[in-house]
């Protein structure tokens, strides 16, 4: 299931001398969207604070499909692509709101991390179950 995870705008500050949004800010928007897609499977800000665990990115794949310019309006939709006992893979799709064109897709591979031990740890069973329920259908990506 895809959920809306970001709704924003390209700032002039995010654009480089080629006149478009610099690659680092695509990743920045994926990072912001991640907190929303995690919340959608129960890894909410309160869960992270109280349980002291959260997914940490270990690998990312990005396809830059369209350039984005200052003032362009953006929407990110995200979902869970794969899940196992310690691992979650999230999918993110960034769309230019005005044109409807997909500007970027990204897969972020994560390992669940214990924020005190700074080591991998098992996903909470309820989170695991929720992620499995909401896995993206084949063909979504």
């Amino acid at each position: 299931m895809l959920v809306e995870t970001h709704l924003g705008r390209v700032s002039p500050l995010e654009c480089d001398h080629l006149g478009h949004m610099n690659v680092q800010f695509y990743v920045s928007k994926v990072s912001d969207a991640a907190w929303h897609v995690m919340a959608s499977i129960g890894i909410t800000p309160a869960f992270i604070r109280e349980r002291r665990q959260a997914p940490a990115a270990v690998k990312q794949e990005i396809a830059y499909l369209r350039e984005l310019r200052a003032g362009d309006l953006l929407r990110m939709d995200s979902g869970v692509l794969e899940v196992s006992e310690k691992r979650l893979t999230f999918y993110h799709r960034l769309t230019n709101v005005e044109t409807g064109q997909v500007a970027m897709t990204s897969k972020v591979y994560t390992v669940n991390m214990d924020l005190d031990a700074r080591r991998s740890t098992l996903l909470d069973p309820a989170i695991l179950a929720r992620a499995r329920e909401r896995l993206l259908a084949e063909g979504t990506v």
Partner: protein
């Protein structure tokens, strides 16, 4: 009949947007509200491509921002916006609410007056007919977005007596703060007010580090802002500030952003603010020593 509302923003709060008091700094609330307005503009037939191609532009001329609950690093939020009214004078009034998506609590309320202006970003123009029709079709009562009480009438009418106000900021407007037309957005105004308050505190003999060490922080509750003129790249600006009113917990002050060369007022903001306990995250009465200094400023003004 109720007018529709639209989701116009969604995001997360990052530590680099938070200030020394551990919460989202005021300038970023306004930055997120500005982005949300751009999403509403699409509903009015003003997508980025049309705005880029157009000489005229869409600007805020007044903003009311009420800060109701803190947002802290790690929080997630969304913004909902609706159109309250389209006025005969050519303004469109919109309302936005920033909601903590996890708790459902309203974190901030924004009431913004928009105008369509010429390329000089000053001279009002009639709205394009299609935009006006779309705005009128979507305007009306917004029961989900209750109209806030007006701010206390603490600002004396008429022109400010600048010489009796404190100089609390001096700087310049830089290109990287501005849009492609060279005009700075609301965030740039708010960032300067944020700097000015530290200077006003200094005049009140408040050392921010000492305040922090005593377990107290300060927070804005309510902003009433009038944007009189565009804040343009390259302008030398200063802020003059004064204390307007004091109560047990809340104090009101005013900042004027001035063009240093011409002396013209670019922006006026009336602020209601308070002190709070950093551990309990609850407001406290204004400490006696600070109250005495604030009273001195009040009398001086």
């Amino acid at each position: 009949m109720s007018a529709p509302t639209f989701i116009t923003g969604r995001g997360a709060i990052n530590p680099w947007e938070c200030d020394q008091w551990g919460h989202l700094n005021v300038q970023f609330y306004l930055a997120k509200a500005s982005d949300a307005q751009a999403h509403l503009a699409v509903r009015l037939g003003l997508p980025p491509s049309r705005l880029r191609a157009s000489g005229p532009g869409l600007i805020p001329v007044a903003d009311r921002a009420l800060f109701k609950r803190e947002l802290r690093a790690g929080n997630i939020y969304f913004i909902r916006t609706g159109i309250r009214a389209v006025s005969a004078d050519g303004s469109i009034d919109i309302a936005s609410r920033m909601i903590n998506q996890e708790t459902g609590n309203e974190s901030a309320a924004f009431e913004t007056r928009l105008r369509w202006v010429a390329q000089d970003r000053t001279r009002p123009l009639p709205w394009p007919e299609d935009v006006l029709a779309l705005a009128q079709a979507s305007a009306g009562a917004l029961p989900e977005l209750a109209v806030p009480q007006p701010m206390a009438a603490v600002l004396p009418p008429g022109q400010p007596d600048i010489d009796r106000l404190l100089l609390t900021y001096r700087g310049s407007v830089e290109a990287w703060e501005c849009d492609s037309a060279g005009v700075a957005p609301p965030r740039a105004h708010i960032a300067r007010f944020n700097d000015a308050i530290t200077h006003l505190f200094r005049a009140m003999k408040i050392d921010r580090a000492e305040l922090f060490a005593s377990g107290l922080g300060s927070a804005a509750l309510d902003y009433d802002i009038a944007y009189h003129r565009p804040l343009r790249s390259g302008t030398a600006v200063e802020i003059r500030s004064g204390m307007l009113a004091l109560s047990d917990k809340v104090f009101h002050l005013v900042h004027y952003v001035l063009d240093s060369a011409s002396g013209e007022v670019i922006t006026t903001i009336v602020v209601a603010a308070l002190f709070f306990d950093l551990a309990a995250r609850k407001s406290v009465p204004i400490p006696a020593a600070i109250r005495a200094e604030a009273q001195r400023l009040l009398t001086g003004a």
